[in-house]
Amino acid sequence: MKKRNKQKNKNNNIAIRVEKVSKTFRVPHQKINSMRSAFVNIFNKKTYEEFIALDEISFEVKKGEFVGIIGKNGSGKSTLLKILAGVYEADKGKIIVNGGVSPFLELGIGFNPELSGRNNVYLNATILGLTKKEIDEKFDEIVKFSEIGKFIDQQVKNYSSGMKAKLAFSVSIHAKRDILLMDEVLAVGDVAFQYKCMNEFEKYKEQGRTVVLVSHSIDTVREYCDKVIFINDSKIAKSGNPEEVCDEYILKNMTKEQIEEQGVEKEKKKREKE
C-alpha cells in the first residue's frame, strides 16, 4: 500500500536507531535553586527520588517512515523525543541518527512579539539551522504557505494565535531536514491548514524523509503513521502495525465504559468490512 522509499543501500536505510536508551531524572525533595538555599542547607542531607522516564528503550526507524509515538501523560514520550532532538542526554544506551534533525517540539522557537513577521521568519529559520542565503531563497515560499500575506511586515504581537502558529509552522516545514520530530504541534491552525500540513508530510515520505510524531490524537496516528510505538511506564509496550498498537493502547488505558463508548469493537468490524 505504502510506497517504499527509494533508498537502495540497505545499510543506509536506517534513519534513527535507538539501542537500550535509559533516562532517569533525579527529583530532589527540597529543590535548591539559589545560592541562599544552597548555603542554608549546606549541612543538610540532600535527598531525592529517582524517576525513571525511559527504561532500556530500543527501536529503529527506517528512512521515509512516518512513525507515531503514543502513550498516556508522563509515560516518557516527550523525554524520548527530547533525547532524539539532543536537548536531553541519555544516561545509558546508544542513539544513531542519520541526517539532519528538525525538532518541532514547539513552534516558533525564538519568536519575538516586538519584531515583524519578516524578521521573525529569519530569526526562527536561523535557529532551525538555515543560512541567510537559504532563507532568502525560500522566503516567498514560506510566506505563501503560511497564508499571512500582507501582514508579514507587521509586528507579530498583532497577529492572532492562529496566524502566529501558521507562520511558525511554515518556517519549520521549509527547514527541510531529513528527520522531523513533532510533539503534538498539529493541533494548531484551522482545518484547512491542518489538512495542508498533513499533505505536506505525506510528500515527505515520498522524498524518503522521516517523521516522528508524538500525539494523543489516535485518529491522526491511525490515518498517517506507517508504524506506531506505544510507550507505557517508561517501556515500549507494543510497536508495529498502527491499528493493532492503537487498539492495544486504548484497551490498556481506558475504562471499560469508555471503551464501550468509543466502540473500538465496532470500528474493528467496520475496518474488516472495508
Binding site: I32, N33, K82, V87, G110, T126
Partner: protein, 259 residues
Amino acid sequence: MNNKKHESYKELIWMLAITDFKLRYQDSVLGYLWALLQPLMMFLILNIVFSSIFASGGAIEYYSLQLITSLMLFIFFSEGTSAGLSSLVNKAQLVTKIYVPRWTIIVASTINAALIFLMNLIVIIGFFAYYKLMPDIGSILMFIVFIIALYVIILAFSLIAAPLYVKYRDLTIIWSVALQALMYLSPIIYPLSMMDEKWHPLMLTNPLAFIIHFNKEALINGHYATTTQYITFFSIVIAVLILGIWSYNRNAKNIAELI
C-alpha cells in the same frame, strides 16, 4: 557537512546578537540616543560630584575625559557580564525546545554587548575631539588590544556564570552587588595615583582595573605598562578564558533539565 555546521553556528550567533541589538535600539537613531542617556547621566553625576574633589588644585588634567573613557569600559564589562549571566535563562526556549550548542547563546549575548560598546565608542571619540586631544597611534592600538582582552574576560565570565545561573537563581543579585564593589575597586572615578604606591601591584592584578588604568594612561598621558606587567596581565586573561571553557564543559551538560 562540518563546515556547513560551523557556518550556520556563525550565522546563528550573529542573528541572535543583532536581533537583541535591534530590539534595544528599536532600529532607529533616536532609539540609540535614548539608550545613551543612562551612561551619560551616570557620567554627569559622577563628574559633578568627583571632579571638584579629584581635580581640585589641578591634580588631574582632563578629569572628565578620563572619567568617560573608564566609565564606558566599565559599562561594557557590567552590561556584558550581566547579559552573559542571564543569557541561557532568558533564552530558555532555545535550550529546552531545540538543540543548538548552548555556547552559541552565551556568545551571542556577549557579541550584543560588544556591539553596544562599539556604539558607545562614538561618545568617547566625541569627548576626545571636544578636548582636541589626539592619542598617538600606539595607544590606539593598545586600546584595541585591551578591548579584545576585555571581551575575552566578559566571555569567560559568561561561560562560567550562565550555566550556574540556571542552578542558582539569585546569582544576578549577588553579581550586581559584586559589580558595585568592582566599580569602586577599579580606578574609574579616581586615578590610581591617588592610592599609596604599595597597593598598585595588588590593584592591577584585577584585569578590569588594569585595562581601565592603562587605557587612560596610554590614551591621555602616553604612559604604558612595563613588559612584566603585560605578561602578567595576558597570563591572567588566558587563565580566565581556560577556566571559563573548562567550567562551561563541566556545568552545561544537564541544564535543559534544570532550566
